[in-house]
């Protein structure tokens, strides 16, 4: 149960013909179409200088062609959408003094993301200003829908992603491969599958956002954890948080792992202090430009905008900090205002229709939540979230093993997504990321894991469908989701993951001396039935949604059905990840439910 030694001799897995991740079937055929596309280079020593660029270019093509389609709020008066928000942030950061950034007009897409997003917008805005100043004139360029601007903005997403997310994903897959002894061929397939994940492409390159920046920093943090570079992982994780506060979904898990690794196998105080110091320093560096900008504005005597109201947070600080005369006041004000904008506690429990617990309970009519006082609701949300993330985090803290890292991340973020408040439907990308990364682990492309990863991704895209329809992205949704599930051999276009009881394939395997490891371990009967049921419901829903108008008095009926089924399915994903953490942590051995040696038989029970 001890964590593996920091340095393990590299196994010569690469030369081995057999594979452990389940990309090949018992009769030596590609197990699913993704594997078929890599078939020509199987067993051939192909230079990574060829395969990697080809993979990255191919995934780029699908991103860029999705970018040809409309973005959120294209030509939609009066408010436009996320595209306008991002453009507006570029406009305001390059045109306004730093002290105005978090105070500027909240009504028109006020800046409500952490400072790294602001800096990122500032850089992109500066570049954009060089290209065409008319796109970024303060107040004048609002709601600009020019074709050239679209190309520029789309390019910034692609470039940002290829600078942060893609290298991080490559590194993370490499670390996982090293850690799980997965050969290069298999991990190339996993990498492609991860990069072709439809939800991320649809949201970032279709709908328009920069989620991959935050996800990329998270992946870099994960890769660093796997490489035992804990301090770097803190830096990257602070960057993720500093880009988008939603990275908080992961925070408990990463904290639990880091804390756990300082305590087990033995107490390691220097490590703990190192982590603490680096984290605090990273936060300081993150806010430094904001503070320096404030200092510069104080020096220049730039007044605050006339309509600025003091953030309530400021009042709760000690009076020596907040007194108008104190030299610290402007800095405290800026930081409080930034935090006030980033965490708007005053908003409701959930926004729009999102497939989480609260929305499902509310819209399905089980309980009309708006009849309860908001404070009670937010307390309930907090408690429930804590309850859902406690088991994975506690286990990760007690057994800080890299094997369970991804599943613990996934379980924690599913918990947040389902139970916390202020969740957007787009936040489903967060739990999807660690879950999809499972493909790069040992046995990750075997039927069992592949079925679950495919299930989670398809379901997530499906819950995004109402949003994507609004954006005019119906066709890219069908194309990308369909393509990915076909490539993965998952329903509705492939059923290889669900082919008949596993006992049959075990028999075949027995006759072949069990040389193909990945064949076994398809999903058990219960999850098979659940999955197929949900898939059938999704397909049925699409048919109904396309041809049957909802009843007049319930115009949102189809969306509500989507939300409820989505929440239930995500609940299943949460449970599966949680079970994976329990199983992988080795707790069951310690508690005595499983016997150490003969434990293999015990695994089959559930």
């Amino acid at each position: 149960m001890a964590p593996p030694p920091a340095h393990r001799p590299r196994k010569k897995r690469r030369s081995e013909p057999s594979t452990t991740t389940g990309t090949i079937t018992a009769d030596q055929k590609p197990a699913f179409p993704f594997a078929a596309f890599f078939w020509p280079i199987k067993g051939i020593n192909t230079s990574p200088w060829i395969t990697l660029p080809v993979i990255l270019m191919t995934t780029f093509l699908f991103r860029w062609t999705s970018a040809l389609w409309p973005y959120s709020g294209m030509g939609v008066e009066p408010m436009h959408g996320d595209f306008e928000a991002q453009r507006h942030w570029m406009e305001l950061t390059i045109n306004l003094p730093v002290t105005h950034w978090y105070f500027h007009d909240l009504g028109w897409w006020g800046l409500d993301y952490p400072p790294l997003t602001a800096y990122h917008s500032w850089i992109l805005g500066q570049i954009g200003w060089l290209v065409e100043p008319e796109w970024f004139r303060l107040y004048l360029s609002r709601g600009n829908d020019e074709a050239g601007l679209k190309v520029f903005m789309r390019a910034t997403v692609a470039v940002s992603e290829y600078l942060i997310y893609i290298p991080a994903a490559v590194l993370c897959v490499r670390q996982l491969a090293k850690h799980h002894s997965v050969n290069t061929w298999d991990s190339s397939i996993a990498l492609t599958a991860i990069l072709m994940q439809p939800a991320t492409i649809l949201i970032d390159h279709g709908h328009f956002q920069y989620n991959t920046m935050m996800l990329g920093f998270t992946l870099a943090s994960l890769a660093s954890l796997l490489a035992n570079r804990r301090l770097w992982s803190c830096v990257f994780f602070v960057a993720a948080l500093g880009f988008k506060q939603m990275a908080l979904f992961y925070a408990p898990a990463i904290a639990a792992y880091l804390a756990g690794s300082c305590i087990a196998p033995r107490l390691d105080l220097p490590r703990l202090f190192g982590i603490a110091i680096i984290t605090v320093t990273s936060f300081a560096v993150l806010f430094l430009p904001l503070v320096l900008g404030t200092a510069y504005d104080v020096y220049r005597n730039v007044p605050l905008p006339s309509d600025a109201t003091l953030p309530p947070l400021l009042a709760s600080l000690p009076s020596w900090l907040v007194s108008e005369k104190g030299w610290l006041h402007p800095y405290a004000l800026q930081l409080c205002q930034a935090i006030h904008r980033i965490f708007p506690f005053s908003r409701g429990l959930f926004e729009d229709k999102v497939a989480n617990l609260w929305c499902a309970v509310h819209t399905s009519g089980l309980q009309k939540l708006h009849t309860y006082p908001p404070s009670l609701l937010s307390r309930a949300a907090l408690l429930l979230t804590l309850a859902s993330i406690l088991p994975p985090c506690a286990l990760l803290f007690r057994y800080p093993r890299k094997e369970i890292l991804l599943k613990a991340f996934a379980a924690t973020s599913w918990g947040f997504f389902l139970c916390s408040y202020q969740v957007h439907e787009k936040n489903v990308l967060l739990p999807l990321l660690p879950m999809t990364m499972l493909l790069a682990t040992e046995g990750g492309m075997g039927k069992g894991t592949r079925a679950w990863v495919g299930f989670a991704n398809t379901l997530a895209c499906w819950t995004l469908f109402p949003l994507l329809t609004k954006d005019g992205l119906r066709i890219p949704y069908f194309v990308l989701t369909g393509l990915w599930s076909w490539l993965m051999g998952c329903p509705p276009f492939g059923f290889v993951t669900y082919s008949l009881p596993t006992t049959g394939s075990l028999e075949i395997e027995g006759t072949r001396d069990g040389d193909v490891v990945g064949e076994e371990g398809g999903p058990d009967v219960v999850s098979e039935i659940l999955h197929l049921g949900v898939y059938a419901a999704m397909v049925g829903w699409h048919v109904v949604e396309a041809f049957v108008p909802p009843p007049e008095d319930k115009p949102d009926l189809w969306v509500v059905a989507n939300v409820c089924l989505g929440a239930a399915g995500f609940g299943l994903c949460y449970l599966w990840c949680l079970w994976g953490v329990v199983e992988g942590s080795g707790m069951l051995y310690d508690v005595g439910l499983w016997k150490r040696r003969g434990g293999e038989g015990g695994k089959k029970v559930q």
């Binding site: 078929a36 078939w39 780029f60 040809l68 890219p476 194309v479």
Partner: protein, 501 residues
């Protein structure tokens, strides 16, 4: 090695996905051309099809293509009927775009089927190579750029061509092959360039006995003749009946166009024009006469009479004679050795000859060379050596078709992926040749391929930074001259390979 992965169908799926994602992409006037033809064939009686001229994009394809458009219009009328009105010029509602783009994707299934037959008909020990060649055609960047972005139906038409070529592989299929090719000619007459090879091959392999040239198989001759006349009758019969043959032909062969298309196709004439431009500056030193009115006209890219400043002007007759002269040697060899491989090689050489020397050649016509050549490229390493520069130059020459910012990365990245994957795969799969290699083409072609990078960087970025919108013709001239060198080089290489094997 029973199955090859990925299979044709497996490759088709992501390719189709990409093509659907390309629906909102840039589309050229060819989109409107085809929309107009939909409208003409749907709303006018057959009698008026070749007379209608509301739009400048008159119907100038042979009758089978018009019938094809009529068939498409039968489905189109179920959707947005606005696209079927002749007066609705430049009509491109989203439904129209979806419909027309979807028909390109669906009719391309003919190509998939033809390629499937091609792989199936190849011998077991060359299955692997045939499979790779088939995939390279299916995923061709040329088809992606021309059909799915620029907008045309080449996938469908080349599918029919390959079908006809594959049918000719077995003696029992020769008759059908001839008929299919005749039908293809009635769909798009650009394939006339390939007709000499078909004529010689069918004559020798189908109409004459295998032993002697004088052993005429009369039954076959009659069968083929009647068959072809029947196909042509189906196509042109109604127009003969209305007495419109002359009008139809004047639409099909507009001889009033200039030597070079607006953008020079990378052929001999591009090099010729390029030399002429260079000579304008060199002429004073060489004491050559310069025709002053031509100086300003050549590169302006106006469709019309091309005149040269220093070099002698070219007449259509010259190009015709040169084309024929370039085709005859290959045809002669085919006549005496009528094997299927020689047939495909002759097809390729005929296409080369007409592309290089023809009158008013479009850059898109390079597919006429690349696609038949792809079927042979993996025969051995010598063939591959000649194919490589063509694969690069042919596709690079298509880049100017797309000039919008959004499509720029698509054309470049897709082509680079295709070149990387297929040239490497071909390199691995091509068997060593039986004969020694004649000359060191490889070094030349590597250098040539490498030169594409700075050229494209200059044309797409540096030129604009240096000159802005001035000298717009310069990048185009460089690209077409660069590509012309590659096409001519690969032609010479292939001639050597063909006549020494």
């Amino acid at each position: 090695m029973a199955d090859q992965y990925p299979t044709l169908l497996q490759c088709m799926v992501p390719a189709t996905a990409l093509k659907v994602l390309l629906w909102p992409a840039y589309k050229s006037t060819d989109f409107e051309v085809h929309r107009n033809w939909l409208a003409i064939t749907h709303s006018l009686p057959l009698r008026e099809w070749y007379y209608e001229k509301t739009s400048e994009w008159t119907l100038d394809y042979p009758p089978f293509f018009a019938y094809f458009e009529w068939l498409l219009s039968q489905t189109a009328q179920l959707g947005d009927r606005g696209m079927l009105v002749v007066q609705n010029r430049n009509y491109d509602s989203w439904q129209t775009v979806q419909f027309q783009r979807a028909t390109v994707i669906l009719t391309e299934l003919v190509l998939v089927y033809a390629l499937h037959l091609f792989v199936k008909s190849s011998s077991p020990n060359s299955k692997k190579q045939a499979h790779a060649a088939a995939l390279s055609i299916l995923l061709s960047p040329g088809l992606l750029i021309i059909d799915h972005i620029h907008f045309q139906y080449n996938g469908f038409l080349y599918g029919i061509l390959i079908l006809s070529i594959v049918l000719a592989r077995k003696p029992s299929g020769l008759f059908a092959s001839g008929l299919v090719f005749a039908a293809l000619l009635c769909l798009k007459h650009i394939y006339l360039y390939l007709a000499p090879a078909y004529f010689v091959y069918l004559l020798r392999a189908y109409c004459l006995g295998p032993r002697s040239v004088f052993d005429v198989k009369l039954a076959n001759c009659v069968k083929l003749g009647v068959g072809i006349i029947a196909v042509a009758g189906l196509a042109f019969g109604p127009f003969v009946y209305y007495g419109q043959v002359q009008q139809v032909f004047s639409r099909l062969f507009p001889f009033s166009r200039g030597l070079c298309h607006a953008y020079w196709a990378p052929n001999i004439w591009a090099l010729y024009s390029f030399s002429d431009r260079v000579l304008i500056y060199a002429a004073p030193y060489l004491k050559l006469p310069v025709s002053s009115d031509a100086v300003n006209s050549v590169t302006r890219g106006l469709v019309g009479d091309t005149s040269f400043a220093v070099l002698p002007d070219i007449s259509p007759r010259t190009t015709f004679v040169l084309t024929l002269a370039a085709q005859i040697p290959a045809l002669t060899k085919l006549f005496f050795r009528p094997t299927w491989d020689n047939f495909v090689a002759t097809l390729t050489l005929c296409a080369y000859a007409s592309f290089l020397f023809g009158w008013h050649v479009h850059e898109k016509a390079i597919l006429l060379v690349i696609i038949p050549f792809s079927l042979l490229a993996l025969k051995d390493r010598r063939h591959l050596g000649a194919f490589r520069p063509l694969a690069v130059s042919g596709h690079v020459s298509l880049f100017p078709l797309l000039f919008t910012a959004m499509e720029f990365p698509i054309k470049i990245v897709y082509t680079v992926i295709w070149l990387a994957v297929f040239l490497l795969a071909f390199d691995r799969l091509a068997p060593p040749s039986e004969k020694p290699r004649v000359f060191l083409l490889d070094r030349f072609s590597l250098l040539y391929i490498a030169a594409a990078v700075p050229l494209l960087v200059y044309c797409s970025i540096v030129h604009q930074l240096m000159f802005g919108a001035r000298y717009e013709f310069l990048p185009l001239m460089f690209i077409s001259s660069y590509a012309a060198i590659g096409v001519v080089g690969s032609w010479l290489g292939f001639l050597v390979v063909f006549f020494t094997s």
